[in-house]
Amino acid sequence: MSEFFAMGGNGAYVWSAYGITLVVLIWNIWAARARLKRNLREAARDTAVEEPVQRPKVTQL
């Protein structure tokens, strides 16, 4: 098993290449998802604007 991770002495190169790939992949998935969610949330706010705006009540200073 440790022989597998060593990659014939070049483990640092092989695993860092795969590690960076994984990081870029995860960033892409996260960023695309976050953007869609945020834009949907903001667009949903538009539809809610038509409802009467509630005045904030001042109960204490």
Binding site: Y13, V14, A32
Partner: protein
């Protein structure tokens, strides 16, 4: 010439949004599954290279990232050009959606290439290598496109100005592809896309092709999700989007 109905509907934001929403999850599942299979196959089951031994296994992530970066730029340039010429807003939305994905995969191609270069060439980077320089230029073209867009508050103006840069930059894509043949510097020549048979054994070629398919599927998955986000942003306040979000449609 009469164009088919499905073609016309590709210009309709609600239709494309719905299509992307239906197709994207399957692209994602298939892409990630193939990526897992390809990674295990390439790291565990594929044999070691006679010359490079184990370090050659970077071949299962490096050329794929470079290929996706070039495909992304081509799609971005063509979409931006279509948007510019025929004033199709959805085409601009495709171009914008491609840019961040393309930028990240170009970075990945440069990074994995540098990591691979150290043990095989003895250096992370070579300023005289045509392949490395043209791929670096691709990275700057993507960044330039994003920076140029960010400089405009008006979206239509950003679409049109950035489209010019995107279209002109397409010239760099064939240069990247042929750089290894036109200038025989450090980077090796093509492995699969040669006129004679591929310069790689079948036992290594299969996981390589699996990874190419996986990267392609994942790219289009990300593109569709970003396109959906872009459509929502551009279509705010429209009746169909209000209907989709469950608001008042009247």
């Amino acid at each position: 010439m009469k164009l088919p109905r499905w073609f016309h509907r590709l210009g309709s934001p609600p239709h494309v949004y719905g299509l992307a929403d239906a197709v994207a999850p399957w692209l994602g599942r298939a892409g990630l599954a193939l990526m897992a299979i390809g990674a295990v196959w390439g790291l565990v089951f594929a044999p070691a290279d006679y010359l490079q031994r184990e370090v050659y296994r970077i071949i299962y992530v490096h050329p794929q990232s470079a290929y996706v970066s070039m495909m992304a730029y081509t799609i971005m340039g063509v979409a931006a050009g279509v948007g510019f010429i025929w004033r199709i807003k959805l085409a601009h939305a495709v171009a914008v959606s491609t840019a961040p994905i393309g930028t990240s995969f170009t970075f990945l191609a440069l990074a994995t290439g540098a990591i691979w270069g150290r043990p095989t060439w003895g250096t992370y980077w070579d300023w005289g290598d045509a392949r490395l320089m043209s791929e670096l230029l691709l990275f700057f073209l993507f960044l330039g496109y994003l920076a140029l867009r960010a400089a405009f508050d008006d979206r239509d103006k950003a679409d049109r100005v950035s489209a010019v840069l995107a279209v002109v930059g397409i010239v760099n894509v064939p240069i990247i592809h042929y750089s290894v043949e036109w200038w025989r510097t450090l980077h090796q020549g093509p492995t699969i896309t040669r006129f004679d048979e591929p310069a790689i054994d079948v036992s290594m070629l299969i996981p390589l092709l699996i990874m190419i398919a996986a990267f392609t599927l994942v790219f289009f998955w990300l593109l569709l999700r970003r396109l959906q986000a872009e459509i929502v942003e551009r279509e705010r306040g429209t009746r169909w989007l209000r209907g989709l979000l469950g608001g008042a449609t009247a």
